[in-house]
């Protein structure tokens, strides 16, 4: 019995072009509603799915929207952007827009993720290995 056959590919110099997040022209109702939740389109903070967000203040300011207030409550202890998106049932992109406002207002702090590098950090990988072995 012979399994089907694949052909290996090699790394590309330039990653394939990413689709534009062109929400303004989108006519579907759902993204429009989300667009309102997220406010006007500004520059988004560079947030990863696993950027950890931590509240810097205990109570939301009076100007905070319900979404801002909910985010602030959730990240009293550090929580990833992915978790915030899951608990709030809002798409990742919408949460990053909300968090961009909150970072600018110094309501929350972002702790940058560990990302893959050309030459990975060996001590980090060892720490992860040891952590997994304890599972």
């Amino acid at each position: 019995m012979t399994p089907p056959q694949r052909q290996r590919r090699s790394p590309q110099e330039d990653p394939p072009p990413q689709p534009a997040q062109d929400k303004k022209e989108d006519e579907r109702p759902n993204p429009e509603r989300l667009y309102v939740v997220a406010g006007a389109d500004g520059n988004r903070a560079d947030l990863d799915l696993v950027t950890l967000i931590v509240a810097r203040v205990e109570d939301p300011p009076h100007s905070a929207t319900p979404e801002h207030a909910a985010l602030l409550r959730l990240c009293a202890a550090p929580l990833s952007v992915a978790e915030l998106s899951a608990y709030l049932s809002l798409p990742f992109g919408v949460v990053t827009v909300l968090l961009t406002d909150m970072l600018a207002a110094e309501l929350v702090q972002a702790r940058a993720p560990i990302v893959r590098k050309a030459l990975p950090d060996r001590s980090l990988l060892e720490a992860v290995m040891h952590g997994l072995q304890r599972l």
């Binding site: 799915l49 992109g93 599972l135």
Partner: protein
């Protein structure tokens, strides 16, 4: 708990909260064809009940073949199941599984970018459903290991044959796994970390 815990939006359970000392997180992505066990694997190693995040994206007709002639723009929701493992008081590892149509995963900016590596889960009954995903990981330079989820009625091939069929280079680890078992899923992740470590030693990967 103070009054904050009584709000209507449920957050993590108290025992699931990360310590304030958590400084940084890393992520691993688990990919594979439909029904191959990605979500099961996330659930078996995660310390929290798996959660789902999603992203809505508009795309200009990339690989979409079911709307000939209409405006070539579609909104797609891509959902990701994920779990979490606290590695140390400072370090957290997130595992993202990828349900749904694989042709959309790679439209999600930042899902694979920055991931330490990936696990490609394969089912020997449908080996070819993983081919495209593996190619895309290679194109993006995301290192991966291959885990064969051992379904009882799936054909068993020697690893050498699978390696040839999957066109894996000699250094890419391939192993059997039972994704329902935590120890087995954990061993796959440890193998991935060892592989990444070996790449770091040789510095061969860009």
């Amino acid at each position: 708990m103070d009054f904050k815990g009584s709000e209507t939006i449920p957050g993590p359970r108290t025992e699931d909260q990360l310590p304030q000392t958590a400084e940084a997180a890393a992520k691993i992505v688990i990919v594979g064809g439909f029904g191959v066990g990605k979500t099961t694997m996330v659930g078996s190693v995660s310390e929290i009940k798996p959660l789902t995040t999603e992203e809505t994206m508009t795309q200009a007709g990339v690989g979409v073949d079911d709307n000939f002639g209409s405006a070539s723009k579609t909104a797609t929701t891509v959902a990701m199941d994920f779990g979490r493992i606290k590695i140390t008081e400072q370090l957290v590892l997130y595992l993202f599984g990828t349900p749904g149509q694989e042709r959309f995963w790679f439209l999600w900016n930042g899902l694979f970018e920055g991931a330490l590596g990936a696990v490609v889960l394969v089912d020997t009954r449908r080996l070819e459903v993983s081919f495209d995903v593996m190619g895309r990981l290679e194109e993006r330079g995301v290192p991966f290991v291959v885990a064969v989820n051992t379904f009882p009625d799936a054909p068993r091939y020697p690893f050498a044959d699978l390696r040839t069929a999957l066109d894996l280079s000699d250094d890419v680890p391939i192993m059997d796994c039972d994704v329902r078992r935590r120890a087995s899923s954990r061993d796959v992740l440890i193998t991935l970390m060892r592989f990444l470590h070996s790449l770091a030693m040789t510095g061969s990967r860009t």
